[in-house]
Symmetry: C2
Subunit: 202 residues, 2 copies
DNA sequence: CGCAATTTTGCGTGCCACGCACTTTCTGTA
DNA sequence: TACAGAAAGTGCGTGGCACGCAAAATTGCG
């Protein structure tokens, strides 16, 4: 039964909303199928069917299965950037970053899909690679915010990109370790503790 | 003209040597073609032909084009591990890591292929992802050495993997920035400076 | 030399990404 | 409300990729 996603009553035009709905439906369908039957047994055709859309349409949204699975986690990037922008300007950068990541993690409520994605990334290096590919884009965004904050140049200086990438990497490695360890302790604590152990001087 | 690689007079059996030679020949062929005509115009068939081998054989060595290009840079991992093991045990970890990376970078002589791979990674996120996928494997190896050094557990503790991954990430981001900035200043200095700005406490 | 182990190769299969043209659905305006 | 244009969805065809399988070629050793 092809269950197209119908939700998100808010939004601009119907067109925009439907488009976004289809995109997230495809992403979630891919994730769900991967969790149910294992990544190897997920074909593009299945994902499309699960989202109630033609196979060809799938590739109008994503250019690979891997992208579909990991893309749904990309919203976090913008979230982190916003949270960082909201921190007081005189706060030390790394501290601000810590708050931003923790806040983005808990908002709006902790997303179980994040754990699923991490699990998949742990067992399929191809998916891990795709995840990091996304992180690179997110890091670029975050780097501009860091540059703004620290009065550096996101293009010419090493610092913004380095800080952004290291922050994402710290978060990812910590999160994966947390998942691998059972995931019973509070995540936020683990992330805070890990971030506190890392320094990146300007 | 299919130019199979004939070199590396040292080694165990002839079989082993030939196999390794084919592998590096394929990797270098992929890299050369990518540099010459652009990554998009490189087919598996071309790589195989360039290495003087059948297309089917290519997939006996690599399971994707991306892997072929980036694999030739994986020897560095073992190198870094060796260099780290050679550092005095009482030396602070991060300092030892810095030395290890710098040493591995300059040995035996700076490899131009490294720059080519970095350039490709900069313009093709797919290749960047593959590069990081390899780094994950290298980081795992390095993590065991770090665990040995610091008396921690590479499986249960976060620290070894975090330190290893952050070291690789710092190196990669710095190297890419160095390449993007023209690559005229000494690389070793850039890496040393970047590493010195990063801290990872146990 | 001749045999066994290993590697290379050819072939067939299933899957995937995407260009192109056509159909369907939506939106703003008369 | 009707309609024309825009935007999204779809079907089809093409080129390419990864890999299982079994036959052929190559290598190492007694």
């Amino acid at each position: 039964m092809g269950t197209a996603a119908r939700k998100e009553p808010a939004g601009q035009g119907l067109r925009e909303r439907k488009k976004k709905a289809t995109r997230t439906a495809l992403g979630l369908a891919a994730l769900r199928l991967a969790a149910e039957r294992g990544w190897a047994a997920v074909r593009v055709e299945d994902i499309a069917a699960e989202a109630g859309v033609s196979p060809r349409t799938f590739n109008n949204y994503f250019s690979s299965k891997e992208e579909a699975v990991m893309a749904s986690g990309a919203d976090r990037a913008e979230r982190v950037r916003e949270e960082l922008a909201a921190r007081p300007p005189q706060e030390p950068l790394w501290e601000a970053l810590t708050h931003a990541f923790v806040a983005a993690l808990a908002e709006p409520s902790f997303d179980p899909a994040t754990v699923l994605r991490a699990r998949l990334a742990l067992t399929h290096s191809q998916l891990a690679a795709e995840q990091v590919r996304f992180e690179a884009g997110m890091a670029a965004i975050l780097a501009t915010e860091i540059a703004r904050r620290t009065g550096t140049d996101a293009e010419r200086d090493l610092y913004p990109r380095l800080a952004a990438t290291l922050a994402f990497t710290t978060f990812r490695v910590t999160f994966e370790h947390w998942v691998r360890s059972g995931g019973d302790t509070p995540v936020a604590d683990a992330v805070r503790r890990a971030m506190r152990r890392v320094r990146v001087d300007p």
